[in-house]
Structure formats: structure tokens, C-alpha cells
Subunit: 421 residues, 2 copies
């Protein structure tokens, strides 16, 4: 029942653009009233989850939380790390966030942003989401270091890390996701251009998942090792409140926000493919077939870490990924929302690997230090998967709360209450 | 009527995998009989074109011509240029082609290739096609220079070319296309690995189009300048015979083959976006809205190159792309099948452009020298679009005829009759 429950909860808001937005596009004009997204509150006509994901489907931009976090992962990702140009101050950051938020609201609704002459390229948002994060340096630039969350700093160095600065921390991050790669490209281009006086691209990490939302919504995606990835994610609203959304015990400007941990993880396909299937499954602790724990039959069966085989050995190896990644006893807070994408790009000249593949591993949690770090410490120590994977990039961001076009729910643009305090 | 006609002709063969292939996958086994693809001759149950492109849709691998040429463009492209490792001879090329053809036939049918342990990654081919081409050096390696088509050589240097060897001619090319990026990645990986003893990747050019096949099959794709691209393509079978398929006046091993011209074209989004819409449309000679010629109302209206405005000036500028690209008077053979993909990758460090975007321009024709070259000569001389585009890569390939699993129609694997002569 999990997939259906998840879909009911998470994608009930996905609606189609309808005639109004399309009409606005075809003339190159946009209706200011439409920026409030009249369809945002509309329920899906088919909460049972059988509606295909049409390419004119819209994920509402505004809401208590930013879209693109609890949103079921779309097929395509552009994750863009920006660094400020010299001279950017608090006022400049506010102007950038105002402009990016307004443009994103329009793009996600299938409307042409102000100043854009490309209405034909925004007619089908295909579940476009745009999600923004602040790196540690934002709080210096806006002269508010005292407000910076304690966890908004580099993660500890893990002993197996081989980090490359080229994939490192940036001042800002924009996560653009869509089921259509042309929409993705156009939205990315628009934001890069509209932000160019304030921030420049340091890296762009592109990723993808199986584009099968149309007939298997809610199915857990697979990575390029063939493993299902994301089985233990939060699915119910209470789980999101416990694990992901920063809550009432924080200043108002933080409530509804979260953190992103970004790890770029190279996967060595060449050595992985030398393994037989039992060895692959033992390293993970789950079957490749359907992702069931080695002690169960179905993906969502609870792993039995006590079970032993006829030799008295644990069925799920204690150095398997599943065993190492589970919350420590007495620490139920050690859970995160995984939202990883596969990458597969041209091999670097001179590389020893035949492929240049891996994960743009993105996860969301209230606090990376208490939630992500202990998991990664355990994985770094003894995960069997370390034989085939290498962390090559790392960054942490604060993801501001969601927005409302008129500011009635707090912020009209990303980070408004922090930036205007 | 063009889109429907085209779909009837070109996509009538697209069928869904059905239970047999899926069952074979889930056990990791494959049914040898299925490699003849029993569904290849099956007509679409909905020739009117309303069937959604499901992710388990199959394009038959075998046929008179290779798939992936007349096939309507899928959403995602990996174009991989390979160079032979030292010591490859005719026998080795035959072994490589045998292995690649067999593996591709299985992958395209949703079956696990022999020796692959990843059945879960091939369950949904999503219209996967794999198309192979031979560069000029193949004919040297197989000691058959006398058989090399006269046109299989570098194109003339055009004066505006800024070619980078990094995107240059290779010994072989494999074009992998799918509506699903995970299938695309897995098929690419499999072929790179299975060919590693014979050939290594020199470049991989990745591209995309709007993923809206599900509701607008046959619609002409748009590039990142927002232009529809491919309006004048052949659509009817006779047009393909005239323009694309090498015919009866050639040796048997060539019949049904074609040539690929590959041009990597950088598009300068920064300067293009400074133009207003009328200037953009004048440069192209078509409207941005629906791609109609500036003298017409609909995309497929015939351009009227004689029409003048109230000042007596041509409505379609004689330096517009449409004017320069049309066949010269008395040379109806100057037509090609365009099958271009957009690219949009991370900006190169130090680049002056905000984006790194353009076209992986692929076109097919019987003879690049008499069909593609005269068009490109005229464009190079005076196409207004040259202000914003730059050709940075170039290559030419011979694309062997199609195959049949039992060899009954000529080749059981790509180039068999040439390689075994």
C-alpha cells in the first residue's frame, strides 16, 4: 500500500495546466493574477493514482514547503551550484531571490517569465520544480552570521572521501527537476541568465531516473547498479514532520525549511559488474529483483537483522549497506529523505573507468549533523559498497521555507523573512 | 495531415513488449526464439496515432534499414564515437559487429543480453534504438579501401568552421536513443563494455528533445532557440527512397544503407536572447510560434520565396536560414533527413558563454557530397543564423543496411556482407 499512500499524499496536488496558462503563453503575455496559481489548491481528479503524468502536469510552486523535496522525483535533474559575484550584499541577495522566485513561480505554472521572449518553450512544465538553497556564505554576505544554523558548515571529513573542489560547496544551489528535458534546460537557462548580475555557475550536476512515472507512479527508482534506492524514505506526513521539516522550536523564518546534503558519488561500473548477483545482493542487503531485504519477500518488508542462516551467520551481513545505514539503537532521528539521481556522462580523458557514472546523491533532513552524519560515519567505516563507490563531492545548504505569491504565509520570495529582518 | 501520415508510416511498427519479454527478463533468461522479434511485423492497434508512447514500447531492431533513422526521434540521445584499439583487423571487426548486433537486438526487445546480470534494467526499452555507423578507417582496417564509398571522407572545410578534434571523426559511431534515460544509460554501458576489447570511447555526445511523444506524436521538435527544426524532412516512403536509402544501383551489401553527417553546433544563447522576436524570425525565415514560413500560416505551408512586402523587399530574407537551406534550382536531390538533438551541458571553466548549449546535428542522406555539402556551403556563405551558431565538430559515417536475426534478408549483423566478402 505504500506507493498508493505516498502518491495520495504527495502527488494529489499535481494538476494539468489547462487552457488558461496555454493561452497566456501563446500570446507571449501572462496574466498577473495567474501568478497566484489558482490551481494550487485543486485536488487531483484521480486521487487513486491512476492518472498518467502528462507533460502539462503542474506541481504548485507555492506552499508551506518548497516543492521539489517531498515531490516524487521527476525524470530529469539539473542541480546548479552558484557563487556570488564580487560586491553582492544583503540587498542584492534579496533582489536575486525576488527575481528567481517570481520567475520560477511562472515557469512552474507554464507561464512566460517577465522579460522572456520564449513562450513556446514553457507550454509543458512536465512537473517542473525549482528549489533553492543557501550555502554557509550567504549568512556572511547578508551580515547575519549569528542566525546561521549550527549545522550549516562542511561535513566532517570521512576517511574514504576523495573530494574534488570542482564539485564542492557553493554559495547557492538551485535544484531544477522536470519530466521533460527541454523544459528543464529552458528553466535552467532562464534562471542562470536572470541571476547573472549576482551569481555565476560554479558547477552543474545533471541527473536522471527512469522516466516511467506515466505508468508506475510511486515506484522506488533504481540506480545504475540496478539497486532500488529510497525504500526507507519517509512517506507519511508525520514522518516528514519528524525527519525533514524544521519545526516550531525555531525562529519563524526557519519554520518549514530543511537542509540539503549533496554528495557526488562515483560508481565504478567496471569492478561492480565483475560480481555475481549473490555477491551484489549481499553487499546491499537487498535483492536486486524487487529490493526486498534478504530476510523478506517484498520491498517494504522490515529487514530482520537477527535472522541467521543454517551456518549461524546473519542473513543480512553486518557490513551490508542496509545494516550500516539503519538508525543506531535508540536513535530514531537518524533518518533522512533520499532524493538521489543517476549521472552518466562522457568518460574523462585518461580515466581508467569505461564509464563516468554515479549518483548525484541529494538528501533532505532537519539537521545533517544529527541525522546524516552518523549514518555516513557508519557507512564510511564498513559499508561493503565502499569497494565500488567513492564520494567525490560534498556540500550542505539551508533550504528556505515555501512561499506564497502575496506573502500571506510568510515569505513571498525565498528567504524573505531572513533577508528583510 | 503530415504528422498522421508520418506516424502511420513510421511508427506503425511500434509495439509494446508484452508479457513474454518481461517474463524472460525477470528470470534473467532469454528466449532464443524471441530474438527474431515476433512482434516486428505486428501493426499498431491504433494507426490513427492516438496511442500513448508507453515506456515498454518497442521499435523493432531488425528490418530492411537500421532503426533509429526513420524512427521518430525519441527524447534522449547518447551518440558515442569509438576508435579501434591497436591490432583490430577484419575478423575482429566482424566479431565486434556480431556481438553488438546481437546485444542491441536483445536490448531493444526488452531482453537481457547474453552475459548481462542486469535484467531489471531492460524491462522497459521505451522505444530504444541502437544504430551503428562505420568511419572511413574501417575500410582500411578490413583491407577493403577499394569498396569505400567515395563520399566517406572528411567534409570540405567551411570558412566559419571552428572544429575541435575532441568532437571529430572516429572509426565507429553508435547512436543510442530512448524515451527513458535509464534505459539509454544501461544500453550505452552494455555496448561500451562488450566492445572494450575492440574499441574505446573517444567522445560521447548526449542530447535531448521534448519528451512529449505521449501526447503529440509526430510534432516537429524545437531546438533551444525555440525554433521548430525538421519541418522539411522526408515523410513518405518514396521521399525516403529518393533522399535517404542507398538503392539498387549499388552493390548488394550497400543496398538499404545510408550515410550520417554529424555536426556539433554551439548555439550562443547569450547573444541570441538579445534579439527581439521579429529579428529572430527574420533570421530563420519562419515564425517562432508554429514554425510557419513568414509567407504562410501553418508549419507545412510551402514558403513563397518570391513574395515581397510593401517596400518591395522579400518577405523571406535571402540570407535567412530557410532561404539558404532550400535545394538549389534544378537540384531536387539537395534534401536531407534532419534528426538533430539539443545539448545543454555544464559551461566549460573560463567560457565567456553563460550556457554550453547547442545541437548534436545529425542528418541522413544517400550521399553527403551531393546532398549535404551544397546546403552547408550556402549556409556557411550567408546564413544569418551564423551570427549565433558555430560548427565545432564534424564527422561522416556509412550506416550499414538493416539486419535480420537469421540473415535471411542479407546481414545477420551490421555490415556482414561487407565484412565477410
Amino acid at each position: 500500500m505504500f506507493p498508493l499512500t505516498r502518491r495520495g499524499f504527495l502527488t494529489g496536488l499535481s494538476v494539468t495546466a489547462g487552457g488558461a496558462a496555454l493561452a497566456a503563453c501563446s500570446t507571449g503575455e501572462s496574466d498577473p493574477a495567474a501568478t497566484t496559481n489558482p490551481m494550487a489548491q485543486q485536488e487531483s481528479p484521480d486521487p487513486a493514482g491512476d492518472t498518467p503524468r502528462l507533460y502539462d502536469a503542474i506541481v504548485p510552486f507555492d506552499g508551506e514547503h518548497q516543492a521539489g523535496i517531498a515531490t516524487p522525483a521527476q525524470a530529469n535533474l539539473n542541480l546548479i551550484g552558484f557563487n556570488f559575484v564580487d560586491g553582492v550584499d544583503r540587498g542584492a541577495v534579496s533582489r536575486l531571490m525576488t527575481s528567481w522566485s517570481e520567475d520560477s513561480r511562472r515557469l512552474c505554472t507554464g507561464e512566460t517569465p517577465l522579460g522572456s521572449l520564449e513562450p513556446e518553450l514553457v507550454v509543458a512544465p512536465a512537473n517542473l520544480t525549482v528549489t533553492c538553497g543557501f550555502g554557509p556564505r550567504v549568512f556572511e554576505v547578508i551580515d547575519a552570521v549569528d542566525k546561521r544554523p549550527d549545522w550549516l558548515r562542511p561535513l566532517p571529513e570521512y576517511k574514504l572521501d576523495q573530494l574534488d573542489e570542482k564539485w564542492g560547496q557553493t554559495d547557492l544551489v538551485i535544484q531544477v527537476c522536470s519530466d521533460d528535458p527541454t523544459m528543464l534546460s529552458h528553466a535552467t537557462r532562464h534562471l542562470v541568465r536572470s541571476g547573472m548580475d549576482y551569481a555565476r555557475v560554479h558547477w552543474m550536476q545533471q541527473g536522471f531516473l527512469r522516466a516511467d512515472g506515466a505508468h508506475t507512479p510511486g515506484e522506488t527508482p533504481r540506480n545504475l547498479f540496478g539497486q532500488v534506492d529510497g525504500t526507507v524514505n519517509p512517506r507519511e506526513e508525520e514522518q516528514f514532520d519528524e525527519q525533514v521539516w524544521i519545526g516550531d522550536d525555531t525562529p519563524e523564518w526557519m519554520q518549514g525549511s530543511t537542509s540539503m546534503v549533496l554528495r557526488r558519488i562515483n560508481m565504478n561500473m567496471d569492478t561492480w559488474e565483475m560480481l555475481d548477483r549473490p555477491s551484489r545482493e549481499e553487499a546491499l542487503g537487498r535483492t536486486l529483483d524487487n529490493g526486498a531485504p534478504l530476510t523478506g519477500e517484498n520491498e517494504f518488508d522490515e529487514p530482520d537483522f537477527e535472522a541467521t542462516d543454517k551456518f549461524g551467520l546473519p542473513v543480512i551481513d553486518h557490513q551490508s549497506h542496509v545494516f550500516r545505514a539503519k538508525p543506531a539503537d535508540g536513535h530514531p532521528e537518524q533518518r533522512i529523505l533520499r532524493r538521489p539521481y543517476n549521472y552518466d556522462i562522457a568518460p574523462e580523458p585518461g580515466s581508467e573507468q569505461l564509464s563516468n557514472s554515479g549518483l548525484v546523491f541529494i538528501c533532505y533532513q532537519k539537521d545533517p549533523v544529527t541525522q546524516y552524519d552518523p549514518i555516513q560515519q557508519r557507512l564510511d567505516e564498513a559499508d561493503r559498497m565502499n569497494e565500488w563507490i567513492t564520494h567525490i563531492g560534498s556540500a550542505v545548504y539551508w533550504m528556505p521555507p515555501g512561499t506564497s505569491a502575496d506573502g500571506s504565509t510568510g515569505d513571498a520570495y525565498w528567504g524573505q523573512r531572513l533577508l528583510e529582518a
